[in-house]
């Protein structure tokens, strides 16, 4: 699945929004570390993919019509064997159809269960004056409640990426609070830079949202991703 074919398919279906599997696969091809996520359209395929990826896995509904997957019962985590994956597959489809009968469901995503790290978000928004702008922040409450985020106008240099990581008020959390190990800031910078290059190469990307990204003492990985295309 290359960039052009994903784009083509989305356009053909009249979609501005890429689904999670598409978004992650494009990011992975561009060199952004993402949690491996594959699409299954049958229960058997889901079981096979789970074995390939390695247990435990997470299974989620894939539909661009469903934005809050857990609210509709569309997410099952910590699945440790094939039987659990098969049951989850059926349950997720049933729950989603019941909650949103009109939603077009592409299938389910099977992904490895990422080890929890410090939650951050990395994204791109389009500013009406300056054009594409990268955004960085700590995830969860920090971004939602405190709006503790930093911005840099594209194109980004290494200096810009380093500064945006250090610009947030909550940076002490990244440096290791109360005896915690500091997180891998270099990995965050690299992820920001790789994502910004990806965006520069593809001007038809309107918005990018990687939320959350888990960052560890060594490395970082995007757990969920969302890409919005410009309108045709």
């Amino acid at each position: 699945m290359n960039y052009e074919s994903v784009l083509h398919q989305a356009r053909a279906e009249g979609r501005d929004l890429l689904n999670e599997v598409e978004a992650k696969q494009l990011l992975a091809q561009a060199g952004v570390p993402v949690v491996e996520t594959l699409l299954a359209t049958t229960a058997d395929q889901a079981k096979r993919l789970a074995r390939e990826i390695g247990y435990p896995v997470v299974v989620k509904v894939v539909s661009t019509d469903i934005s809050h997957k857990s609210d509709v019962g569309g997410v099952k985590v910590g699945l440790a064997n094939a039987e659990a994956v098969g049951e989850a597959y059926e349950a997720i489809l049933a729950n989603s159809r019941q909650a949103l009968p009109d939603a077009v469901i592409t299938g389910v995503a099977v992904q490895s269960m990422a080890v929890e790290g410090t939650e951050i978000i990395v994204g791109m928004v389009r500013d009406p004056q300056f054009g594409p702008v990268m955004m960085f922040g700590l995830g969860g409450i920090f971004v939602e409640l405190l709006k503790d985020v930093s911005f840099r106008v594209l194109p980004l240099t290494e200096r810009d990426a380093k500064q945006m990581v250090n610009d947030i008020k909550g940076r002490a959390i990244l440096d290791g609070l109360r005896g915690q190990e500091p997180v891998d800031k270099a990995a965050i910078c690299q992820l920001i830079l790789t994502a910004s290059e990806f965006i520069e190469q593809h001007p038809e990307i309107q918005e990018l949202d990687m939320n959350p990204v888990f960052v560890y003492a060594d490395g970082a990985v995007a757990v969920d991703a969302r890409i919005v295309l410009t309108r045709d």
């Binding site: 500013d127 009406p128 004056q129 300056f130 054009g131 911005f151 106008v153 810009d160």
Partner: protein, 493 residues
């Protein structure tokens, strides 16, 4: 050196003021002819008033139309009502002028779609003829080197500051306030709606203008964001650029929209752009002015956050000043014991403090030694100094003035210059930046010092001075933060 394409705009050979008022009063907005006369432009080149209803102004011939003026006319100032602008534009094309400044308002800033179209059409016509436009809805140019001024009372001495402003009144206020502090300008542009020439054009010009070593801007809305970003990036690489953005709040944005038709945009992103490009960011007119003073003096070289506070004025003032310094992100470190011991030899008086803050009046003959001791003590990155510390130089012990001259103004000047000289001497001698602080008028005047004179006299000596301790501390802290986020860009200190 190559000549920038905007250079002729700043150096017209002759200027016509079209729609001139018959009353040549150089005060207030819109008195361009009178301001140019006062600035002495007529000594430099042709200055032609144009108004069909007026035959002469103060004995000078007034021309009925632009077409009747002698050739060449390089620059036209339009004071005609918006309805007459299309005709004037045609005349400018026929007359082959190089630039036109529209004081005339009533175009896109009104929100009227039709006037926005008229504005666009006239700019297209001018562009096709190679004529650049400033405005509409603005005050235009103040260029002392070319004897151009848009208000009366501006100094005709050139300086180092390039000021760019979407508001003419704000530009005038910065010029007047900073003139009082000793600052002089290379070029000032008020560009209003920016229908043709915009912030990025002027930033590009300022970046290469050798006369301008400091660039300051008041902006309400960013036009051509990408070009603005890139021009700011280029300019801020090579010289200090200070940005004051109007419309930071919801109410301010609404005001900006009706003022210059600007969309104020996201302030978070604008602030990020300043950090990214290495520009200094001011939030108020006071900050803009303080930062201009700061980067034009050698406090650009302040190396740390430790302040030796030697401001006089009593123990309570010392405490509040220390609070203010701390609050603004600097520190008042304790004097090293060795320095305290040494100072005690000069000041045996009880009730004075030689710790930091230093609240003591040493005998005059020891003052220089003591100042040197303070400025070179460990941990002191700068000295905050007020003119109030040195009263013994001009007052005898009984409190009577030593100088009995009745001319109090010349006495104040003498005192002020003496102190400014002393501060410069201390700074040169020790290499530690010395920063002047002067408290509100009453206290200073009691000591025979005029605050405005002090600000100006010290600036002329290369010393940055501020009207309060907290403004001084805030400015230094902004400079230090600026230097930190400029890491990776060329060093400008």
């Amino acid at each position: 050196m190559s000549v920038h394409s905007l250079d002729p705009v700043f150096r017209p050979r002759a200027v016509a003021v079209v729609g001139v008022s018959s009353n040549p009063n150089p005060t207030g907005m819109g008195s361009f002819y009178a301001s140019l006369l006062e600035a002495g432009f007529a000594d430099r080149g042709g200055l032609y008033p144009v108004n069909p209803k007026v035959s002469e102004i103060n004995g000078a011939r007034c021309y009925p139309t632009l077409m009747d003026t002698p050739d060449p006319v390089d620059h036209v100032i339009s004071q005609v009502p918006a309805g007459f602008v299309p005709e004037l534009v045609d005349q400018c094309v026929a007359k082959k002028v190089r630039s036109i400044h529209f004081f005339t308002a009533g175009f896109s800033e009104t929100g009227d779609q039709q006037m926005a179209v008229v504005e666009r059409q006239m700019i297209e016509k001018l562009r096709d003829a190679g004529i650049r436009a400033i405005g509409p809805n603005c005050m235009g140019l103040y260029v002392p080197g070319s004897k151009l001024a848009f208000m009366g009372g501006f100094p005709m001495e050139s300086g180092n500051v390039f000021l760019l402003s979407q508001s003419g009144a704000n530009a005038g206020e910065v010029v007047r306030d900073l003139t009082n502090r000793g600052v002089r300008f290379s070029k000032v542009v008020s560009y209003g709606n920016g229908a043709d020439l915009r912030a990025h054009d002027f930033l590009d010009y300022a970046a290469q203008d050798q006369e301008s070593t400091v660039v300051a801007a008041y902006i309400e809305g960013v036009q051509d964001g990408r070009k603005f970003f890139e021009a700011l990036q280029r300019c801020a690489r090579v010289k200090p650029v200070i940005m004051l953005k109007g419309g930071r709040t919801r109410s301010g944005s609404q005001a900006a929209h009706s003022h210059t038709g600007s969309l104020a945009g996201s302030i978070e992103i604008f602030d990020s752009v300043c950090r990214q490009t290495g520009a200094l960011r001011a939030e108020t007119m006071d900050e803009l002015q303080d930062l201009i003073v700061a980067v034009s003096t050698n406090i650009r070289q302040v190396s740390g956050r430790g302040v030796a506070l030697f401001a006089g004025g009593g123990g309570g003032f010392a405490v509040l000043s220390a609070d203010a310094i701390d609050r603004e992100g600097l520190t008042v470190p304790r004097m090293p014991q060795s320095a305290v011991d040494e100072m005690r030899e000069y000041i045996p008086v009880a009730g004075s403090s030689v710790n930091n803050p230093i609240d003591a009046f040493p005998p005059s003959e020891y003052l220089d030694d003591m100042l040197r001791l303070i400025a070179t003590a460990e941990g002191m990155d700068m000295v905050f100094m007020s003119p109030l510390i040195d009263r013994s130089r001009w007052q005898s012990p009984n409190g009577k003035d030593k100088d009995s001259s009745s001319d109090s103004q010349s006495k104040a000047e003498k005192v002020t210059n003496l102190i400014a000289g002393q501060m410069k001497h201390l700074q040169d001698d020790t290499g530690t930046p010395v920063i002047g602080v002067i408290r509100g008028g009453g206290m200073a005047r009691m000591m025979g010092v005029d605050p405005d004179d002090f600000l100006e006299a010290t600036y002329r000596q290369g010393i940055a001075s501020f009207p309060s301790v907290s403004r001084a501390a805030r400015t230094v802290n902004q400079l230090l933060e600026w230097r930190e986020y400029r890491q990776g860009l060329p060093d400008l200190s």
